[in-house]
């Protein structure tokens, strides 16, 4: 996940060489040169601290274009990428500017991105009227596609009366709670649990989703919530859970509030070995650090599959690592971006086969959008994708990660989320344990 500049340079150089080599051969075999250029737009945070998210994802798109031989039916296929990071973190305004830019580029017929849900919320209203297809490799906020009462905005408002142009290849956050409930009840065998939330929209929402499924599974719970602004001591609450007979805790919240600080106080109460469960808001270095002496036993979900665990993805990842050789070129969303780009390439090909002219850019974008929306049973690296009417994928996979002690070599590789604060916690990292498929 971290960036090493040299690795990046090497990867881009390697890509350039491969691209030149492929460009000569061409896949259309017409021999009469290119009919013109078709581009896939990309909008991701690619600079500063956010580069570790965006660049490996961008490489996934590049890899898909490379695999297609850099052309479709005699048209040269390129990647038009834009960086939506400002000062090292994603920026919705910059994203809007980038999408406007991509729309004004007549070669761009579809785009992959954005990386962050907040950016997606700002970009959809710009891209929808232009009928520009967006496939996000990583947006997990359910509100972007689902009309839920807990959302403070709704998909119909974002589209502004236009047909849906937004799709994603990852599952949504609202499935994280249920996945962890099944994991807690069935896999860990926890029959009584304490559920804690930190009175935020995200925290209460994910805790409610957990609670509903856990109850359905047959578990009993005690629920409590705290205000992260005024709470500094959780021990009395935790003792309350102990009285109730709980043997684990689920926390709805994020580490930047205080979701993992209760964990740090559990050891003194003699309950430091209880499983401590939560959503992707606690799958962070900060959480491991806050957990102090009780990092072991913390588990978190993330929306999406871990490509490293899917056997069918292994050969693609091996090929990818040959083409992109930098230590940090492979990220959590590289394969999502690869699948997203391939779905668009397939849709572009279908449009060309149907006789659509990429030079009539508005018609062509609409044709691609329609084709993408009809994507059904697409066999990608991460599973089979069928888009529903909202733009969500049928492959609703949630992964569960647990904190375990890792050896120094595994920590040094840098692709695990480990503790940072020094001391012994630096060797504790989140490791993949299981996945749930809600689409099946």
């Amino acid at each position: 996940m971290r960036t090493a500049r040299l690795g990046r340079v090497a990867a881009i150089a390697a890509f350039a060489i491969v691209a030149v080599a492929c460009g000569g051969g061409g896949s259309g075999g017409s021999g009469s040169g290119s009919k013109g250029t078709i581009s896939i737009g990309v909008d991701l945070p690619e600079s500063g601290a956010a580069a570790s998210s965006g660049l490996p994802t961008l490489d996934g798109v590049k890899f898909a274009v490379q695999k297609a031989g850099g052309s479709i039916d005699g048209w040269t296929l390129t990647v038009e990428n834009r960086d939506d990071a400002v000062g090292g973190s994603y920026n919705a305004d910059k994203g809007v500017q980038n999408v406007t830019d991509l729309i004004n580029n007549n070669n761009v017929v579809a785009m992959v991105g954005p990386f962050n849900s907040a950016v997606g919320k700002a970009e959809i209203p710009i891209a929808a009227p232009a009928h520009l297809t967006m496939i996000s490799p990583s947006n997990t906020n359910p509100c972007l596609t689902k009309d839920l009462s807990s959302c403070d905005y709704h998909p119909a408002d974002l589209r502004k009366g236009n047909p849906n142009n937004y799709f994603r290849v990852v599952a949504t956050d609202d499935l994280q709670g249920p996945a962890m409930a099944d994991y807690a009840f069935t896999t860990l065998g926890i029959k009584k649990i304490g559920i804690l939330d930190e009175k935020t929209v995200f925290g209460v929402g994910i805790a409610n989703a957990f609670q509903a499924q856990y109850q359905k599974d047959g578990g009993t719970f005690k629920r409590d919530s705290f205000d992260p602004k005024t709470t500094t001591d959780w021990r009395a609450i935790l003792n309350g859970f102990k009285d109730f007979g709980a043997t684990a805790i689920y926390v709805g919240g994020t580490d930047d509030q205080s979701a993992c600080k209760p964990r740090g106080q559990m050891n003194a109460l003699g309950i430091g070995s209880w499983p401590y469960l939560g959503g992707d808001g606690i799958e962070t270095s900060q959480c491991i650090d806050d957990a102090a002496d009780s990092a072991n036993g913390v588990s978190a979900t993330t929306a999406g599959a871990d490509a490293g665990q899917i056997s069918s993805a292994a050969s693609v990842i091996t090929d990818y690592k040959k083409a992109f050789t930098g230590a940090n070129d492979y990220g959590a969303y590289t394969m999502s971006a690869f699948d997203a780009a391939n779905i668009e390439i397939q849709a572009i090909k279908q449009a060309l086969d149907a006789g659509k002219d990429p030079k009539k850019v508005n018609d062509f974008r609409e044709a691609v959008r329609v084709n993408v929306s009809k994507t059904s049973g697409y066999a990608g690296v991460l599973g089979t994708t069928t888009f529903d009417a909202n733009g969500d994928t049928s492959a609703k996979i949630i992964s569960v990660y647990a904190v375990k002690k890792e050896d120094a070599a595994a920590v040094a590789k840098g692709d695990l989320t480990c503790g940072k604060a020094g001391g012994s916690n630096a060797s504790f990292c989140f490791v993949w344990v299981k996945q749930f498929n809600f689409g099946a």
Binding site: K199, F226, D227, K229, D243, Q286, A421, G422
Partner: protein, 338 residues
């Protein structure tokens, strides 16, 4: 029975007050009968938290008592204590992952003294820069500069160490004494002992020394005190110094106790401590200590036996009831006479 009748013979306020108090005591007695061990554990949590609140509340109450300023920056001065301690520990080779060892005790004591000293000097500077020039200004002006100082301190600590929860070295023994009834840790004892020691020292200082007398005189009537030859500026500076030293000790105790500190801790802790000072009677040293303890205990009881969702609601409801019937707080306020 006679006492009960006498209680209800009073005015409505006293009656309501006593009824609520009796109900609360009754509830605690029931809890004690149900599970004494669980109640004691909760009281230990409440008393330790309350002791930390009390150490912060003392600074609020002293400053308000002497110049009628709600020093909003005080909560952040408390956090600063923990922040200053980190590089001091590092200078002695104690990193964030360090664990308890006897050899650390003298270093710990030295760091305590240094933190209190540095914190006091910082607060004197704050008073000199942001409050003293406004002593004759309308009330609102120093109130706003105090809020400003709070943000400046928070912002500085944020720039210094970032938004993360800082891991604090674990320098106090994790040893616990446990039997069928009691389960208490060395850490719990440390918090209470430090708090009691500092409050007693403060009380002795204020009641037995010349400077303490000057403080009391300044709090009662600044002009008259000045006419008696008391150096007002020096007295007020001393008040800020002592308040900040206590808060610094509080910040260090907090960080040693919970092994974690964050730049914005002062906002929440300061708010609760200020509430404690008002509850006990602002300007009143014993009141601040009592208020801190009460809030700590109430919070722990509600967290455990009712629901943490209700903690703030219940604490502030009690505050409102107390203030409605006893506007000067539980032990009465002591502020400058007009």
């Amino acid at each position: 029975m006679q006492r009960l009748r006498a209680t209800f013979a009073g005015d409505l306020g006293t009656a309501l007050f006593s009824t609520l108090g009796l109900l609360a005591v009754g509830w605690v007695v029931i809890l004690a009968i149900q599970s004494p061990r669980s109640l004691i554990a909760t009281m230990v949590i409440g008393i330790t938290d309350g002791a930390i609140y009390a150490l912060i509340a003392l600074g609020y109450t002293m400053v308000y008592g002497i110049i009628e300023l709600i020093n909003f920056a005080h909560g952040d001065v408390f956090t600063l204590g923990g922040f200053i301690a980190l590089p001091l520990f590092a200078a002695f080779g104690i990193g964030p992952g360090a664990h308890y060892s006897l050899v650390f005790i003298p270093i710990l004591l030295l760091v305590f003294v240094l933190v209190m000293l540095i914190n006091g000097l910082v607060n004197i500077t704050i008073e000199r820069v942001a409050y003293r020039p406004l002593r004759g200004a309308p009330r609102l002006a120093p109130l706003i500069t105090a809020i400003g100082m709070a943000f400046i301190l928070e912002g500085t600590m944020y720039l210094w160490r970032g938004p993360v929860n800082l891991r604090f070295p674990d320098l106090i023994s994790e040893a616990r004494y446990t039997n069928s009834l009691i389960d208490i840790g060395v850490k719990d004892v440390m918090v209470v002992v430090v708090a009691i020691f500092l409050v007693v020292m403060l009380s002795l200082f204020i009641n037995r020394t010349k400077l303490g007398k000057a403080m009391r005189a300044t709090a009662q009537d600044r002009d008259a005190a000045q006419l008696m030859g008391i150096d007002i500026n020096r007295t007020i500076s001393a008040t800020f110094f002592i308040g900040a030293a206590l808060a610094g000790a509080g910040g260090l105790v907090y960080a040693l106790y919970f092994n974690s500190i964050r730049f914005d801790l002062g906002f929440s802790a300061g708010l609760v401590a200020f509430t404690a000072a008002v509850l006990g009677g602002i300007g009143n040293i014993e009141g601040a200590a009592l208020g801190g303890l009460l809030i700590g205990i109430i919070r722990a009881l509600v967290d455990r036996y009712i629901s943490a969702s209700w903690s703030d609601v219940i604490i502030f409801a009690i505050l409102i009831i107390v203030l409605v019937f006893r506007p000067t707080g539980l032990l009465g306020m002591r502020v400058p006479e007009k």
